[in-house]
Subunit: 240 residues, 2 copies
DNA sequence: TGTACATCAGTGAACGCGCGTTCACTGATGTAC
DNA sequence: TGTACATCAGTGAACGCGCGTTCACTGATGTAC
């Protein structure tokens, strides 16, 4: 049975074509087979269906509490098929973290231009908000598991967020106002910016649509407040 | 069987005296019975044992994934005894949220004096750090379930944190630098301070002991950065 | 104080259910010639 | 192109287990007189 096969157990599931994936003309293009990767292609489709199914379940439950059988049921596949793709749920979880942090990494990169003028703050916040809207499932998963019940996932998320902060710390070092700031001072700023961005993202996920503008405006103000502080900061002098 | 009774299923459990709770002299103090509340007292002990057991399990797992039987096993009580105290796990969870937010409320109150001078920042951060250390289980639970898989808990936590922010927003309004700030501006500041405090708390919970000083110092710097921004903030002028 | 009855916190057996994992299997896809 | 064999993604039955909840119960605590 294919991921979208006729199992008929989960009531509403998006159907995808599981056969006839080759729509190009059948004229022999070359000597190699025209549809050579068919088996591995369909295996990959099932793998993606499992990941998508898990992500869907994770919008309502924490990783800790979803079962292998639930995931395969949602994916339209028998429980045993799972083991063709992952050793266990934990391995699937780590793949999800990687995928999701790809999203988060892009989001944080979009925040890089935050540290300049007021216009940029507003535009960057809008970019972050759009990104959040387009990657709700991944971001919700990250927010949920960042302090969730599965240690290995917490660790993986924590490590990646630290990398974002370090990256942003290097980046802000190029701004004129921050000449002469120590690495530590730049990390202080970077983590505050990242946390404020992440906080906006998770607030947007929790909120009703009509609350979004207020949340974005609040985040804009908070970033401006921080940036005003930056102009008065005396590197290394505040904590003597 | 009492919470600390001879069930003998969970291997290491702290034993508490379940009898002889009256240590005061037996001289008839009044006409009413000297140990009249014995039955309700021991019921309360079991209730507390269930809550404590749940909190202990929640240090390693999310609420979503712990079972009623696990909780009663940890509490040293039969599964059916649970229903003498709570309708279901969700009800127990809401009680835990209330208890834990009592802790968080005190913690945030300790942060109120943050908004003045550098000395106060350092002292307030230390107060928050001490508080975190003393209420690890409650704070971990809040951090985990704030964006966790159980909607009713998320809602309860979210609502209470919003109350903290509002409370702090009123409080900072009395500072000389904030005269003339609108309610919205004060809330912007208050939520930034609360989030920074909460973030420090959860970072401390995740970190090794030797990492704590660095986390506290970073938080001090972040709060100072924000407070520097406050002195340059022009109420209502930044978002025209 | 003593006795007879009521209350009720906690018990233990039983139930049907979904779980993770194993196993031998099926049949379409892929490959060698 | 055609045939014979190999590969392997996905299947379905089976297992033992822990789950939430029900039920009739026990016996210590509480109360009325």
């Amino acid at each position: 049975m294919s991921p979208s096969g006729s199992g008929g157990r989960s009531s509403t599931r998006s159907s995808r074509p599981s056969r006839s994936r080759r729509s190009s003309r059948s004229s022999s293009r070359s000597e190699s087979s025209e549809r050579a990767t068919s088996r591995s292609e369909s295996k990959e489709l099932t793998r993606q269906a499992l990941l998508r199914a898990a992500l869907k379940l994770l919008s309502r439950h924490s990783f800790d509490s979803i079962s292998l059988r639930e995931v395969t049921r949602e994916a339209g596949v028998s429980p045993t098929a799972f083991y063709r793709h992952f050793d266990d749920m934990e391995e699937l979880g780590l793949v999800l973290v990687e995928d999701a942090l790809g999203s988060l990494r892009q989001m944080i990169r979009a925040a890089r231009s935050v540290t300049d003028t007021q216009i940029n703050v507003r535009r960057s916040v809008q970019t972050l908000a759009d990104y959040t809207h387009d990657h709700q499932a991944h971001l919700r998963f990250i927010a949920r598991e960042r302090y969730g019940g599965v240690k290995v996932l917490r660790r993986a998320i924590r490590r990646e967020i630290q990398l974002f902060v370090d990256e942003l710390a290097v980046d802000v070092g190029q701004l004129p106002e921050l000449q002469g700031w120590s690495v530590d001072d730049r990390r202080v700023l970077a983590s505050l910016l990242v946390e404020t961005a992440v906080h906006m993202a998770v607030e947007l996920l929790e909120a009703r649509d009509d609350e979004h503008p207020a949340i974005q405006r609040r985040t804009e103000s908070q970033l401006l407040l921080v940036l005003l502080g930056v102009t008065r900061w005396q590197p290394g002098r505040h904590l003597d």
